[in-house]
Symmetry: C2
Subunit: 439 residues, 2 copies
């Protein structure tokens, strides 16, 4: 064996090709890149012509063979989906090989099993590319923010939906038209469900939450709303009121003000289109870019911003993970003890709190009959439920009747829901046309 | 000895106290924090009363004693300045102890000597807090971006000057008044020279440059302009033209388009007040915040944003470094081989290119006599020097004469300087009132 680090690359699509391009031209990059060698590569279709020059003999259509190859020291999984990705990752671990993956779907659903297996086997499973594309966010959470008590993570972590929302705002266009444009440009998939319905963002926020708060939660329990039912009228009102609408993924520690160290930490996690004030740093994140804002004690607020997807950006993150593992291999010849920061065990219990306990501001748009006392009646219901109102404005409406926009102060989801179900039954109220959270 | 990691803390001022506060309340932080123990602390004045409860017996006024204490495994230097900081760091290294420091002044000037000593001794010198306060930027550069060829770093990395410029813009106030206000608020020191003249930012960009490009340059050769002579009229014109003025620190690889791997890399480094277009992500970074934008291939652009100073933020970065070293100590019992990413050797030669080769856009404000042909004459000089002009506008002037604002396209500093020295001699030109770079 030479002193190169042998990589088994599973998949040679967008991400895999990006990785291969970096490895094949190490000049000007960190010198460790020149120690990386593409030993075997698995694809589905060996015959397909590809945009990259490679020694054909290292290609195979059997990814398991790649994992088992004794010259492969690190397995890079860039196939995607749950299976065979999960089995391949677990096989690599069982063979004592560290894994790098960009696969948020498998990590969000099976991350606990995978990381327990990795810790038992004394190997790493690194996932920098799984969230935020090229943006360094996993490693900063693991290594640079460990001195903090993290309070909250607020992220724009799905490029497709951010592109769609940015275009809808910029061009005053409707959802369907922009989606089609995004699909033509390659920013949205033919089947865009995972993105536009918020599932991809939910996968990612569950991963970030596990790292930030030290324990995993039930992925399926994350309250998830997408953008496919968002009307352009909301984007217009948002702008008039000084906001942008962004699909935010939020994870927060709901016990942060508890004075004693509590055993199990209640977390609020949600993905939803949200009113973001124009002066907030996330409001200027446009197009396919991603950004993640982290609030912690004592650091305050830090934000990480950059390209959330794409071959080059994602490959940059995958190669970072390879270098990390490679660096440790060079430094640690015999000993197999894991770095406690990089290996990221969970270190406390977390659970999803009842979503009704999460607090935030709200935007509510009501269609009402156009009679004098209606604002008063609505105000009374909010008052009775202790919902304090920041503004209540009647807009000219194209509908029959009046259009009333309410912005509340911070209240619990429970309070606002209770208020709205009462308001819905007021005889003057025709419809609760929209209800969104505000930052 | 117990299985705690013994810290010798040098200095208990803003940063030292912040670190002690984190270490004394580990609950809710990464579990490794609870393994850190403050073994000895050095201060100048033992008698002074302090805002933090500490076992008085661990205090001493002899920092060398702290470094030598056999129970101290990691030395945290938070005294500042060149001496005794430098000698203390070198002593720690010679005793086989890793060092964490927030001291950009000593690293910018003696970083090469210090890191060579550390690499020879098999210890780490980590400096996350030296640039960007709490923002994770050193570690991402070392570990997360290694797959990239870095093209350029553009940073707002001095909080004092960013606060002053933000206030000048927001309140239409002049430099002296805002400086006084900043001093009262604790955002500027009594002697503000290092900040307002750009030297602190130059220290920091030289550190970032060394990490990004893999080789150190002559710190004293960095072209450095501060903000103390900036007139409020420039801020006004900037806003009218769609810009904000920021003190930027920029480092760029001037050979990035060279196709072959060249031996020694020419870098352009500069610190100067710069026109930043309003749509640029750095233009919205206000107050004492810092932000660093990194451009690389293949990642594209990533930006790191957050609090550039302050006890909590800086301590967060110092503790991150302690955890990194502590994690490695726990994983590596006998072997002393260094992690090649964290230890950061320089890996190629870099040199400061002639500043005249750096290319950028320019803002030039001229006071001229108010005769018809003057714009034509100025345009001719620029044309002769191949300086392409984006806009040339005559403004109403309160001065005698006319005020002409020129924005150029991207040209070399040499070309613009040659043009300006010709223009200065035109008989219609009374004065070159201002010349600043634009992004
Ligand atoms: N694209 C991005 O910007 C991005 C960003 C972040 C994370 N990710 C994640 O990265 C992963 C890969 O994404 P991608 O965009 O690179 O996907 P992709 O372009 O569809 O590529 C998938 C690759 O896997 C190969 N493959 C599929 N099934 C296989 C099997 N059973 N055996 C062997 N090879 C198989 C395909 O082979 P053929 O080439 O022969 O079809 C193809 O090369 C996913 O988990 C994705 O979520 C992607
Ligand atoms: N403050 C920030 O926000 C910030 C941000 C980034 C980086 N930094 C860097 O962090 C370092 C420390 O800054 P700081 O703001 O914490 O400084 P500081 O508040 O002035 O504290 C300096 C500390 O060092 C002690 N000290 C000074 N000379 C000493 C000596 N010869 N022997 C023993 N102790 C000595 C002082 O003791 P007494 O308490 O007895 O006077 C004091 O506790 C500097 O390198 C600075 O550039 C600071």
């Amino acid at each position: 064996m030479n002193n190169k680090i042998g990589i088994g690359l599973l998949g040679l699509g967008t991400v895999g090709t990006g990785v291969a391009n970096i490895v094949k031209s190490p000049d000007g990059r960190h010198p460790l890149v020149s120690k990386i060698e593409l030993t075997r590569i698995a694809v589905r279709d060996i015959e397909r012509s590809r945009d990259i020059e490679l020694d054909q003999s290292i290609l195979t259509d059997d990814p398991f063979e790649v994992v088992k190859d004794p010259n492969v020291q690190i397995v890079v999984e860039a196939i995607g989906g749950i299976e065979p990705a999960k089995s391949l990752i677990l096989l690599a671990i069982s063979l004592g090989k560290s894994v790098v993956t960009a696969n948020k779907a498998v990590i969000a659903r099976h991350g606990k099993e995978i990381s327990e297996a990795a810790n038992n086997a004394g190997v790493y499973v690194l996932i920098e590319a799984a969230v935020g594309g090229g943006i360094p966010i996993i490693e900063p959470l693991k290594q640079s923010l460990g001195g903090n008590r993290i309070r909250k993570i607020t992220g724009i972590i799905n490029g497709t939906t951010n592109y769609i929302l940015s275009q809808m705002a910029k061009e005053d266009a409707n959802y369907q038209d922009v989606l089609k444009e995004a699909q033509n440009l390659g920013y949205a998939e033919a089947n865009p469900t995972a993105d536009v319905d918020g599932h991809d963002a939910a996968d990612k926020i569950s991963i970030l939450s596990g790292l930030a708060f030290g324990g995993s939660i039930d992925r399926e329990g994350i309250s998830t709303k997408g953008i496919s039912t968002l009307e352009s009228i909301e984007i217009n009102y948002a702008r008039q009121l000084g906001y942008e609408i962004k699909l935010l993924a939020i994870a927060e520690n709901l016990s942060i003000n508890a004075t004693t160290a509590i055993k199990s930490i209640p977390l609020g996690l949600r993905v939803e289109p949200t009113f973001v004030p124009k002066e907030h740093p996330l409001s200027v994140v446009n197009g396919v870019n991603n950004a993640i804002l982290i609030e912690g004690d004592p650091i305050g607020e830090v934000m990480f911003y950059g390209p959330g997807a794409g071959a080059g950006a994602t490959a940059s993150a995958v190669v970072a993970d390879i270098l990390n593992i490679g660096g440790i291999m060079l430094m640690q010849k015999e000993d197999k003890t894991l770095d406690p920061l990089l290996s990221s065990n969970s270190w406390r219990d977390c659970f999803l709190a009842n979503a009704r306990e999460i607090e935030h501001k709200n935007y509510v748009r009501l269609i009402t009959v156009d009679t004098p006392g209606v604002i008063g009646k609505i105000g009374n219901v909010f008052g009775k439920n202790n919902v304090s109102i920041q503004s209540i404005v009647q807009f000219d409406s194209s509908h029959a009747g009046a259009e009333i926009i309410v912005i509340t102060h911070k209240v619990s989801k429970g309070q606002i829901e209770d208020s709205l179900s009462e308001i819905e039954h007021l005889e003057e109220v025709i419809q609760i046309a929209a209800h969104l959270s505000c930052l």
